[in-house]
């Protein structure tokens, strides 16, 4: 029964070999297609294997690697299989996209070797069955992605992004290292099975939770550890951004689930409060930041932060229920979270592919310079639109389903006895709703400003549709967004073994219900059928079209835009992304970003344009990171004097140390 784990490891091996091959082949023009093509094949196989392994019993093998006295454990259980499926699905989509997209890479030698290695690293993290293998793979994943972030290294911004990223990644790894140290105990039981059996005191378990939140949260992008994410994700080539945002953050979610739901043992109820607060704040802050961005890829990266918050809200709910032995409800919340993991992987990849296509076609990431792309990039814009609707949690697409499940879980929470949770759960529900609504605004802005309207620059006006592979990848993902949205029952049933393994309960089987309706608890309570909603909408819309076109008018005349009678040929008169965000910036920004607007209005008759300056502060940087940096700076500056002392002073140091130690002896 070790087929699954062996074949997954074989795929990992193949990916690593591809990486090595890429080093050798990078200088050939055809290498890009070859490597991405093969990566696509391998990840597809791995994805299929993982899906098949979902319902299979757990399998484990021990390789004579890693820590010598225990070897490297690799195992595939339901949770692993699910995340493997997500990772490899994302990998396959990105690889397919990159078959076309990768051809535009200026220095393929900086991308090709690391790309398959990065996917292999993510696979290994999920496969790892002991702390050493896990952390090794975890950091390997960070390193390879760091190398990919640094592939466009001549831009100083990217170098800074890579640095901040690697530093935060190391911080996270060290936190996880400490967490595993606690879980393993003094005897060094680093294998997950040993940790699972090892009972921790309440304090230590809470410490593990905190460390897991710091460690996994820094990789996933939990507020306020998210700062690296919007820097690093956009810096990488777009297909890598898609992987980092869509998949790597999920690997971090996996780490959190693995530690908190599996290894650490039974949770305390207040853990969920912490997770819910973090999740809620992350979701709202993430989307508010996203709303303020003008760089399309940065916007998407911040939106990833938001979605991680949503996932953590789901996980927090699951923890709350589990701590109160409400396993059915925990299963519902966990299913919602996991489904959102899958959904986000799909639509975030799609959106980054779209952003990559735009970047390719126009060379621009700044949405203030885009516009009108819907005319010249029809397929890309349609696919991006689907992704935008899906990520805004609107029916009938997939994002809605997972958020709906989470809402349903919130509604089950009045039975929870603890006061803290009674207050926190509805608040988290509000945060979730707020985040969803703001996400809608964010993507109206993102899509509307970049794809609709008139081109704001020559590059945007002359954009060309991208290659077939990219288009096929985007179209495929867009269809999947729809399919997951209208037929979520398949995904929910697929998740059942995963959830069963973690909270010892699962949602009722959905595929047996008529029309594949999603019924989380009972049909009298709540149900949702994306398929019917979709069919209804399609039906009514086509009815309306047919009706009007047959019975009324079907004539279309073209003319200049009316614009209240004062149309302007200048594309600068369009609403910009900055002005679009202004109302929301005024509502939320004055508190959250300390946003201030300063208008410089020239005197009447003065021909100069009026200027509006907006200043915003980035809270985590101001409150946490800059002070830390300043403290390190001050400490290094102060200590650095030690480099320039005279020998006599150095001798004094030695002498003082000696005296100190002798005094210790004298007193001891």
């Amino acid at each position: 029964m070790t087929m699954a784990v062996v074949s997954e490891l074989a795929c990992v091996g193949a990916l690593l070999a591809l990486g090595a091959l890429a080093v050798a082949l990078a200088r050939f023009a055809a290498a890009s297609r070859l490597i991405y093509g093969l990566s696509f094949l391998v990840t597809s196989v791995a994805c299929v294997v993982a899906v098949l392994a979902l319902a299979a019993p757990a399998s484990e093998i021990v390789l004579p690697l890693g820590l010598p006295w225990m070897g490297a454990h690799f195992r595939v259980d339901a949770l692993t299989a699910f995340f493997l499926a997500v990772v490899n699905f994302g990998g396959a989509a990105a690889s397919f996209y990159a078959i076309g997209y990768g051809a535009h890479e200026e220095e393929p030698a900086r991308v090709l070797p690391f790309y398959p290695a990065f996917i292999a690293g993510m696979n290994l993290v999920v496969l790892a069955g002991d702390a050493f293998a896990f952390l090794l793979s975890w950091e390997f994943m960070s390193l390879t992605s760091w190398a990919l972030v640094m592939s466009h290294h001549k831009d100083a911004e990217n170098r800074r992004a890579g640095y901040v990223y690697l530093l935060m990644a190391s911080f996270g790894t060290l936190c996880l290292l400490l967490a595993f140290g606690l879980l393993a105990g003094a005897d060094g039981g680093y294998v997950f099975a040993q940790m699972h059996a090892h009972q921790l005191s309440a304090t230590l378990a809470a410490l593990v939770l905190g460390l897991a939140l710091l460690g996994a949260g820094s990789k996933a992008g939990l507020f306020p550890l998210h700062v690296w994410l919007p820097m690093a994700h956009p810096a990488a080539p777009s297909h890598v951004s898609a992987l980092m945002s869509g998949v790597m953050t999920k690997v971090a979610v996996y780490a959190f689930i693995r530690i908190v739901f599996d290894l650490v043992g039974f949770p305390d109820w207040w853990w969920s409060v912490v997770v819910l607060v973090l999740g809620g704040v992350t979701a709202v802050m993430g989307v508010l930041y996203a709303l303020m961005q003008c760089d399309l890829k940065r916007l998407l990266a911040y939106s990833t932060v938001e979605n991680i918050g949503i996932i953590f809200i789901g996980l927090g709910l699951a923890l709350a229920f589990r701590a109160n032995h409400m396993d059915g409800a925990a299963a519902l919340a966990l299913t919602g979270a996991l489904l959102h993991v899958l959904n986000h992987a799909v639509f975030k990849s799609l959106l980054f592919f779209g952003a990559g296509a735009v970047l390719n076609a126009t060379g621009l990431k700044d949405i203030e310079k885009l516009g009108g792309l819907i005319h010249r990039m029809r397929i890309t814009s349609t696919a991006f639109l689907v992704g935008a609707v899906a990520i805004s949690a609107l029916p009938p697409f997939n994002g809605f389903v997972s958020e709906w499940l989470t809402f349903q879980a919130v509604l089950l929470s009045p039975q929870i006895p603890q006061w803290g949770l009674k207050l926190m759960v509805p608040t988290a529900g509000t945060m979730l709703a707020l985040a969803a609504a703001l996400a809608g605004a964010c993507f109206v802005r993102g899509f509307g400003v970049s794809f609709l309207g008139r081109a704001r620059s020559a590059a945007a006006a002359e954009a060309q549709e991208v290659d077939r592979f990219s288009l096929a990848a985007m179209t495929g993902l867009a269809l999947l967004c729809l399919l997951l949205g209208i037929l979520p029952a398949f995904a929910i049933d697929g998740l059942a073994p995963v959830v069963q393994g973690l909270v010892h309960a699962q949602m009722p089987r959905q595929l047996g219900v008529a029309w594949w309706t999603v019924v989380p608890i009972a049909s009298s309570r709540s149900s949702y059928n994306g398929l019917l909603v979709f069919l209804f909408i399609a039906f009514s819309a086509s009815m309306a079209v047919v009706f009007i076109h047959q019975l009324a008018s079907r004539i279309v005349r073209r003319g200049p835009a009316w614009d209240c009678g004062t149309p302007s040929a200048s594309t600068a008169t369009q609403y910009t992304a900055g002005s679009f965000a202004q109302p929301i910036r005024r509502v939320f920004g004055s508190v959250v970003f300390r946003a201030r607007e300063a208008v410089t209005m020239p005197a009447p008759g003065d021909g100069r344009p009026a200027v509006l300056n907006v200043s915003m502060t980035d809270l985590p940087w101001d409150v946490i990171y800059d002070p830390i940096r300043d403290a390190v700076n001050a400490a290094t500056g102060w200590l650095n004097r030690l480099q320039f002392m005279t020998i006599r002073r150095y001798l004094t140091l030695v002498f003082m140390t000696l005296i100190l130690l002798l005094l210790v002896l004298a007193i001891w």
């Binding site: 809402f407 509604l411 809608g440 609709l452 309706t517 949702y528 909603v533 679009f580 109302p583």
Partner: protein
């Protein structure tokens, strides 16, 4: 047999909302005009407008995209489907299980999403201003609405609108503080969502104050008709929603006889008239507020909704 009746009721429901929606809009306008001592347009003027618009040629801006042309139909369809899922004269609709209250709200959200995109499509400043404000309003109204849903769902133990209505109808629910809070919040949200005074003035074309009208400025002909129709439907939807939750009396339960359905339909029309009248009175009495005061208005709704939910969480009895 029951099945067939169910389909018939569902179809009737869909047809009914379609048929009544312009009338509600017309009634409101008429009443408002009367309250201002004006004569006002005829009650059926919205129907005539719609027919007129549908017959006219659609004039599209030169750079209008396919999205601009398809959005009206999508908006109309999403709103219609949402409206058709709200029990109007009978509960236990055939397809009510396909979407609960949360989904209905999300469907309206989809409609709004496309409307806002359409506002940006031509690339004029008015479209943008409308979209921007609309999304700002929505970003507060939607969470408030979700909170109201929470309150209702917690009282009724379900998010299915039919079930909620049945529970409310059953009389098991006493007057509750949280319910009252939810009712107030729902009315506030309804006003905001339908672009009524004091949030937006549906009758104005004064550039700086308009929200909804700014987004649809470039629309003409049948496309405009669809959008007008959709907004009428939305108004109807919200009145129906308030009616079926807070004044559910007269709703025909599932599988009742024709008399019950007739009573249901009759009471429904009465409720609509009352709703339209109240709206007209309210709008006449109040002045439109500045756009940047809207967040306070909606924030109040959000807080009321949250308060209602929290009260329920903290004490099941309130």
């Amino acid at each position: 047999m029951v099945n067939l009746a169910g389909y018939l009721v569902q179809a009737g429901e869909m047809a009914l909302v379609l048929a009544l929606a312009p009338a509600v809009t017309g009634l409101t306008r008429k009443l408002k005009a009367r309250l201002l001592r004006k004569k006002g347009p005829p009650l059926l003027q919205p129907y005539l407008n719609l027919i007129r618009l549908m017959r006219k040629d659609a004039v599209l801006a030169d750079n209008a995209s396919w999205l601009f042309r398809t959005a009206p139909y999508a908006i109309f369809a999403a709103t219609w489907v949402a409206a058709a899922l709200v029990p109007t004269f009978a509960t236990g609709l055939m397809f009510s299980w396909s979407a609960d209250l949360i989904a209905i709200i999300a469907l309206l959200g989809s409609a709004r999403f496309f409307l806002a995109l359409a506002g940006l499509d031509i690339g004029t400043s008015f479209g943008g201003i409308g979209s921007s404000r609309e999304m700002m309003i929505a970003s507060l109204a939607e969470p408030a609405m979700i909170m109201i849903v929470f309150t209702l769902a917690l009282i009724a133990g379900s998010t299915q609108l039919s079930t909620i209505a049945e529970v409310m109808l059953g009389g098991a629910v006493n007057l509750r503080v949280s319910l009252a809070l939810a009712a107030v919040a729902l009315i506030l949200v309804a006003i905001a969502e339908n672009g009524r005074i004091p949030i937006d003035n549906p009758a104005t074309h004064l550039e700086l104050t308009m929200v909804h009208e700014a987004m649809v400025l470039e629309y003409s002909g049948r496309h405009l008709a669809m959008i007008e129709f959709a907004s009428s439907l939305k108004l109807l939807l919200y009145i129906s929603l308030i009616a079926c939750v807070f004044v559910p009396w007269g709703l025909a339960p599932m599988g009742s006889d024709l008399t019950a359905y007739a009573i249901g339909a009759g009471s429904y029309i009465l409720k609509l008239c009352a709703g339209a009248a109240l709206l007209a009175v309210f709008e006449t009495m109040i002045a439109k507020m500045r756009v940047f005061r809207v967040p306070n208005f909606l924030g109040a709704a959000l807080m009321l909704g949250l308060l209602g939910t929290l009260l329920l969480f903290v004490s099941g009895a309130l």
